[in-house]
Subunit: 431 residues, 2 copies
Amino acid sequence: MEINHITKRFVKQLFLKPLDVDVIRDAKRGLIDFIASSHYGKDDTGVKKLLNLAVPGPAKIIGHDRYTTVEQAALINGFMAHALDFDDVHHEFRGHPSAVILPTLFALSDEHTSGRRFLHAYTIGVEALAKLALSLSNVHYEKGWHNTSTIGIIGATIAGAFLKGMNEKDTCRAIGFAATMAGGMRIHFGTETKPLHAGIAAKHAIEALQFAEIGMNVNDNSLEGQIGFLSLYGENTVKKAEAILLDTSTFKWRLSKPGLWFKLYPCCSGSYFGIDAAQRIGELAVSDIEEINITFSNNSDAALVIREPKTGEEGRFSIEYIVSLIFSGRPLTLESFLPEEVDDEIKTYMKKVRRFNNHQAVKKYTLIEVKTTDGNVITVRGVTPKGSPDNPLQTSELEEKLADATTNADAILATIHNIENCTVGSLVKLI
Amino acid sequence: MEINHITKRFVKQLFLKPLDVDVIRDAKRGLIDFIASSHYGKDDTGVKKLLNLAVPGPAKIIGHDRYTTVEQAALINGFMAHALDFDDVHHEFRGHPSAVILPTLFALSDEHTSGRRFLHAYTIGVEALAKLALSLSNVHYEKGWHNTSTIGIIGATIAGAFLKGMNEKDTCRAIGFAATMAGGMRIHFGTETKPLHAGIAAKHAIEALQFAEIGMNVNDNSLEGQIGFLSLYGENTVKKAEAILLDTSTFKWRLSKPGLWFKLYPCCSGSYFGIDAAQRIGELAVSDIEEINITFSNNSDAALVIREPKTGEEGRFSIEYIVSLIFSGRPLTLESFLPEEVDDEIKTYMKKVRRFNNHQAVKKYTLIEVKTTDGNVITVRGVTPKGSPDNPLQTSELEEKLADATTNADAILATIHNIENCTVGSLVKLI
């Protein structure tokens, strides 16, 4: 029986894999980007609403001089990090790892928590959710689930269990609680409930750990079998799903390879291949454009749920809006994605955009074809957008992103660069 | 667009349907049984564990002289009501309605809450979850979801919204949060996590209402469409699911017809048809039995997940154990379902039991065939177990169930029988 205990074998693999210098460096980059994204989102309207729920407690609300309960800190910090869709992405996970894992880990940390163990827990969390997502298959997302939340809760729970020094058995029990609380539907994309999912998953991860700690009985092998998590939420056969989960053929940590994808622009990652293509086309007068045809590979526009945005905020999930910004010479900065009405010039561009999908694509891409009024056709394929693992942001660019978000960047960076020799408490004070 | 707003039409139907005297009477019966079941479960080991999480607050923990936060009260009271599997069932819902709805409603009530409105909210909650379950189809449960939790959270949210006087629009928003937190896997059956699901669903229903109240943006039509709740969690086509949800051909409230199913025995309702059959066969010496063959209609033993129970507690989910109790002349009382080792006599009976399934059955039943050592065959079909809507418990029997559970039964009953003229606060003090 034990030999088929998929959940335990998964946890054992995650916990025993040794850290290396590459992943420590990359985890620090993730930490910088997470704090930057959180500070950009700290005064978001949704954060202000959630602060109504925050009763006093020991855990810091990032960017605020305020402490709340561990559960509410996880909720609010998770929301904040993902509020502007400016936080990191992992393409194997097809979701936002840090916005779920790091709020869980920060909420569980105190002045005694080792910085090195924190980075290690984060690395394990990213590994766990990437492998879980691969195991469930892409169809999980396409059917309507929001991976950041459905899978995120389990990754955050495993990361939290490692941080707390839980043994394998109790970690498997905590996974049981996390799996049975897994939820999150993509139908809410384009509303505040998308970032709220990150917060809910982080909060529920904390609760899963609490249920394990107080000793509630639970099936500790909840991932396995016909009515287990992999089968119920996934689309692979049970056998295939379990094989993918336990595959050890990749040597590197997934936080390093393929690695986290960091954003230069606060909009949905589904638009990034299109941004790459549009930027290479450059500015175009609207009067010169006959039509703009955008082709996505294999439903890679699934997260771009809005075709006719009424506001810049909605435009965050609209390739029509984002491409129109670029062709009209506007910047892809926060100012372009505010809850203000889309202006007439952009509307004129947007009317010319049509979307297509190539379901036979081998590799992910977005192709933009502009037919001009003088009969020319410009065709550019976006394949390696800036920030993606194949065309990564430099650490100095991440540091600039942080410096633009907070006046405290120097102290935060000094602490992060030395975090493996500090406690997490020394960082929490600064953020 | 509005005309196709399935979620809003569903809420409108629920909120506008008038109460009648039958359903008021039946809701009171449900309330008596809920309080009885909760008191039987109040000292369960799991409750003691959960009490570790209870920080002080305004909401009463049933059966304890202790008050905690609204959220934790919902969690603990939900667990408690379902701890012994002694609480009511609704067969269209295929779950335990009161253990989710009533902890939510009690947690939201105070000394100003109208008793009549409370009964009305409860009635609406049961209606909502029965219709949602029919809409998702039986396959939802069979795939591995735990309806008490996955659907229960939405029923409890709608009931809570009505109790609080939320308008239709905000109720639809609250449903959005509930649907996106829906979870609960049957893989945990046979552990404390089964009753914990009732508590988690009640707690998350409270949180869904809070998110709606603080004004978080959300898709308020989350049940509808290809990536909506009915499609993502259900097995019917979207069109069929939506039609079932909005069907108004049944005039009676579902709390009255088919009605709640109350239990005389603290064990899984999946065993009740078998109990009916075994009791009609009566006591049998183990030495006279060659074999015991039990045939269930259409996977109706899905919840009876344990075939070789080690303890009486596990035996709660084992037809093998329960039938052996009856044939050996033991009572189906709490004492038979304790976490104590199964004795040798029962083991000898259990070894003779085999299970079968008839997948072509038209009506639900359990058939027991006993082949005796002298070559006879006794065959009895259980079709209308005591407590089921076709063979209901008398109100006096429910009152006895309560009187066996608490010394305060007289005062509780007097208040419930007059609850439409009282506030819920007057009842909460007593329970």
